[in-house]
């Protein structure tokens, strides 16, 4: 993303001295309070004044099969109920996902499963790495 003009800064550094930084930022390790009211951390928050974007980016990778895919419903509920931003991107890739896991997530997003009047406006994007590069090229080459 630095090639697209974004400065990579740790959220905890940025939040204390916001005036020192520009308006095109990719913040790292961005906190939020999870649905269980515990502290959570997301990989990135993309802030862009130029493109009018504020997108939390949650990265999920599964190298080999295991239990990570069983947490996707929890992640989804966190996106709609707990993450404060209106736009959230779930960047999900890797070879280890169980059959049906990513499909479930995409269907949940498409059908706005478990949303309420208060959060059904949220935009949740589910992207593979390839989808992400396509989106970034399209969005930032305007």
């Amino acid at each position: 993303m630095s090639g697209k003009g974004f400065e990579l800064v740790k959220y905890r550094v940025w939040v204390k001295n916001q005036e020192k930084y520009g308006k095109e930022l990719l913040l790292e390790n961005v906190p939020f309070t999870k649905i269980y009211e515990h502290k959570g951390n997301t990989e990135f928050l993309l802030l862009s004044e130029k493109y009018k974007l504020k997108i939390r980016i949650e990265c999920k990778w599964q190298q080999v099969a295991g239990s990570v895919d069983e947490k996707l419903p929890y992640l989804y509920l966190n996106t709609i109920e707990a993450m404060p931003e209106n736009s959230i991107m779930i960047l999900i890739d890797g070879l280890g996902w169980k059959t049906g896991a990513i499909k479930w997530l995409k269907d949940a997003v498409k059908q706005k499963k478990y949303t309420t009047e208060e959060n059904k406006h949220k935009e949740i994007l589910v992207f593979s790495l390839t989808d992400f590069f396509t989106w970034a090229n399209k969005t930032f080459n305007q």
Partner: protein, 63 residues
């Protein structure tokens, strides 16, 4: 690590949240060998426990 330091660490809710974050990342990144050793102790144990427990009534053809 001293025992009291360990107790202090695992009783700290912030550490548990941090641990959960790191554990999740480890689960995402670890390869088969790392996972099998962490969960079963060894690959041999993984084979033996899978045969012994047979929780899914699997067809097991492992020698």
């Amino acid at each position: 690590m001293k025992n009291n330091e360990l107790i202090e660490l695992i009783e700290n809710p912030d550490f548990i949240d941090y641990y959960s974050y790191k554990e999740d990342k480890w689960l995402q990144d670890a390869n088969w060998e790392e996972k099998l050793i962490a969960v079963f102790g060894s690959i041999e144990n993984a084979v033996n426990e899978f045969k012994k427990d047979d929780v899914f009534n699997s067809k097991i053809n492992l020698k």
